[in-house]
Symmetry: D2
Subunit: 350 residues, 4 copies
């Protein structure tokens, strides 16, 4: 059994890791780290685990934790993982960081968008961006995984094949995305109260959301050149789910615009053997209800011949493929397990 | 592998059976029966199963089905199972009926509350009421299981120990219950449109809801005498969940009223070894969020010394323990599997 | 124009007073009191008032306020109004207190249930309980109105005629109630975050909710004797609305139990000329959607001959008739206006 | 008093007209037309009007209606108004059509997108597109008003000044929009059931939604040339609200790109005296909660210097400014009333 330690186990993403590891046949959580709830029973904070988890919360001591577990998940705010991790720890355990600390290769970009100083820039180079379907091979031998953001996973996977194959002009890419409220975390803020969010939707972080440079960096690799995009997230009244609607102008190849068949062929080239990526049938649009509580990404597209654009659409569950599920998928790769171990269950509906 | 056939596979309860059997290590669905969608791909109706279920829907032919499967689940409106089942079928396969056809032992009570003629009264006697925690022993050898209703499962399990032990006066029992909207099924009715249900709650079926005689019959067995109760269901804007709040006057034993310790002892006598029943700590009330998507029933209670009443509270997921989960639990008992097989996963939150 | 000052203008109830006074032809808000937001533009806190309210928030100075306005609404937590009010203020302005400070006539009951010392017990006697339909005559000349709670208004109005006319045994009364989340206020608490409340329902304050003694006191007046009841509130995922489902045993009069006609006659005796109380047709149950955003109370009932009980049901909008609307209705009475002035608009749906 | 007749009074938009006219000081509904509910009490269908509307539903007889009222609102599916209206009717009464029948000037575009034959093309030319803030002068003397669609009103008003002033390249315009569920109407469809919509969001009508040519036609007038755009609507789980997020590349004028000040100046040029259009402060994004139940449109914008685009955002209530409210605003203009009569109330929150 893989021994799992979680730093930040009482946030939503941490609790989702607990749920997934509960159903994982080859791993078990042995450390429920939560600075705010030290010594409290974990199941008193998350009642869904009553009678299923008997442990109490422990402090966020990564040094001690490294001696007791095989893998550490850090599901904490930006900056914490970078401030705790060190060479000694990385020599002992695998670290899968669900924060943004090691996602961006350029530390100045990180410091500009996150407005904090990076405490462990020496590990940025070796950290592997844990987008499993794209970086699987690099993940295998990594010590430190930068688990991608929820918006980012959805946005990148939805556009990746078309960017990589040069079917769209990446400079025209616009990502308009919707998110459920769990993405905002469990902090007690007026803005996230039930009555403030319910029966409303809003854009936020317009032109300034921190997932922007993360999407740009990964798609720049795919494009083979540096690109900038527009990314606009919106909050919608539901617990879970990310939906990305992406627009780009089709790019001529050999004097003609790509057809729907070309687009589909590109998606299939990269995804046809991917268990967690479901390329939808012609004309079918993704809906977040069909991926709820599970690790799938549903992708569809539509060409608009009138405007010469393709509309790409992706949906995933921000808590699973957008956070904890992908983290477990990364763990599976790191430990040589079948990649879908413990993650094969169907989405729940309704 | 146990071969499973579902009649009514495209209703919400049917789809939940599909989801649960997907995660069950010793069973597989081989017949997706749905009169309305014959020949359509099942995953085109429930997109959550895209790439996971490749089958098409078949007609509701129970005779043919009986030759192909080991167990039939009927997740259909009242009357259908009774009109299809016969001796020959019951000799070949186990039948677990999620409708009310075989729940009530008195056919006249059935016909009065359901306002239809019973087509197979000859099987009523042998049918076993599939409330697993109470009737486990009888279920083992049954051919025909009457899977309990969602409100009923919650209402009965919450009150059972106190009725059985004579700690409350069963004539004073009032059950006030809340339900999520999936309990109303997938029929296209104005009353169940999003805008009609959202941002509202309402009582319905007041004094006339069909789960009333079912609760009464089972609690009458526990009380050792015939009782009548008040049962008032309410619709609340959420997908899943049943919450029952039950009121009864405490009954003196040996000249004194039962204490909280007496009440707790009664619950523990019946439930302390039950995996799926979670008796909450002192003063903790059940909440439907803590049982969502899973097979647990959470139970709590509070004594009001001022009024001499006990308030009993129970919560479950109407699609799981209130329908498909309990049906699978019954299947496990019928086939000699560990009762919790395929049902041990934690509730999901948020 | 009546000059209105609001202490606690940035809570949900305060903001609802602002909305109602905006639509009131004979009153205007001149003081937006809010200790937390002094000097901030009111419309930056409640964006619905952008371009409609230009004022900034002022401090909660009741002394100064009393010199500038005709009526003060205190929409603040328990204890604040009692700590601010004094003889001088009451001589200058009318005070309508939306907190519980002056609702209970027995100061020891207040201090027991609210666990704070009462700072102005000298005004308890003269304060009038502002349940307009019952206490209209006393309200007219009051200086200090104790505006009833949301659960209380609904619970009392729903049962009052039957208690008053002796058609039910008040000792058997059980009030089971549901509330939208706005009743919990705008404080930043984890328990009221969107993801914690959405897709769930729960009982709370079981046997101990503070509206219990308030309901008991008023119904004791109606019964002509002291009664105790069970009151169980539940939180359900919607912004607004209270639904009360109340149970009581019918009481024989002249040797026979009251009929549905008797019950209806009792309701009509008290409510037939009440604009804001809508007695529903036979068999019609109230639903919160039909009273949303407006000042109505919808009431229905059903007799259960099998159990000898009557089920009474009432619905209102907790922000309007359960708080700000009733407060404005009280203001109208105090200032000799037509009672429904500014409150005659229809509920909005959907 | 203006006598109002409504054809289609039992749809959501029809019911909203009823609500608004209830609060209108100079109009009253005298004909509640509803083919499906003839002879049923209107308030039995919309319980919010219980005791407020006593009338029964009448048939959709526009000829007879024209003799009895001053203005007819048709809140019916596409095609009905065109099939009923004639010269005689238009000579007697004003007709405000909430369907799309008279919104598009090119009948072939109508027939292509709506896939029905137009029954009254002879009135298309004279019909005035009732976007009040843009076409106010033409509306005054019209006999037939084509009341704009909900998405369209929001999309056009949000982009109009920048298109008109040439600050953006209209060929780059992409409109990504979110809608509450009431926009889908009250028809009994599985897709609009509570459990299908709740906890999910989805794009629909991608590249083919019928509001596309309507937006294009109006913005083409503003641009002074024919443009095509991408418009992608999404369904989100809330009752009311439209949010449009629009992207366009800034266009150089005199050799430099427009600044935020230029953009703001353009908005102010057209909207600064508009009561119902609220231009938000710098950096403030619209949210649908702030316009709920009222007739306002909130507009904000953000320039992204990195990509050279401006993101324009607008929010309105699809039932009010997106349908019934704008229809009443049109009525006010037609009858020479102050344009905001009966529509000045504040949005409700929460």
């Amino acid at each position: 059994m893989i021994k799992v330690g979680i730093i930040g186990a009482t946030g939503y993403a941490g609790a989702e890791i607990v749920r997934l590891i509960q159903g994982h046949p080859e791993a078990e959580v042995v450390w429920y780290g939560s600075r705010s709830y030290v010594d409290e029973k974990y199941s008193s904070i998350y009642g869904n685990f009553f009678k299923l988890v008997d442990a109490k919360c422990l402090d966020d001591n990564m040094e001690e934790l490294a001696d007791q577990v095989d893998v550490i998940f850090t599901a904490t705010p930006q900056g914490l993982c970078a401030s705790l991790v060190n060479e000694d720890i990385l020599n002992k355990v695998k670290v899968i960081d669900l924060s943004a600390d090691f996602r961006l290769k350029d530390v100045s970009v990180y410091e500009k968008w996150y407005k904090i100083e990076h405490k462990a820039p020496q590990f940025i180079d070796e950290a592997v961006y844990g987008l499993c379907e794209i970086n699987r091979d690099k993940i295998k031998d990594a010590r430190l995984i930068a688990n991608p953001g929820c918006y980012t996973t959805c946005s990148i996977l939805t556009a990746y094949p078309l960017v990589k194959e040069g079917l769209i002009d990446p400079e025209t890419l616009i990502v308009d995305a919707l998110s459920g409220v769990s993405g905002a975390g469990r902090g007690a803020k007026v803005a996230n109260l039930y009555c403030e969010v319910n029966e409303s939707c809003k854009p936020y972080g317009v032109t300034s959301h921190r997932h922007t440079p993360e999407i740009e960096e990964q798609l720049s690799y795919a494009a083979g050149k540096d690109i900038v995009i527009n990314f606009t997230p919106h909050l919608v009244p539901m617990n879970r789910g990310i939906l990305a609607t992406e627009y780009a102008s089709l790019k001529e190849k050999s004097g003609k615009l790509p057809t729907a068949e070309d687009i589909r062929a590109a998606y299939e080239k990269y995804y046809k053997d991917e268990f967690f990526i479901r390329l939808l049938g012609d004309g079918v649009c993704p809906e977040t209800r069909w991926v709820e509580n599970a690790n799938f990404v549903d992708i569809g597209f539509k060409i608009d011949e009138r405007t010469g654009r393709v509309i790409m659409m992706g949906a995933l569950d921000n808590m699973v493929k957008g956070a904890a599920g992908q983290a477990v998928q990364n763990m599976n790769i790191l430990f040589g397990l079948k990649e879908s171990t413990g993650l094969e269950f169907a989405p729940s509906f309704p």
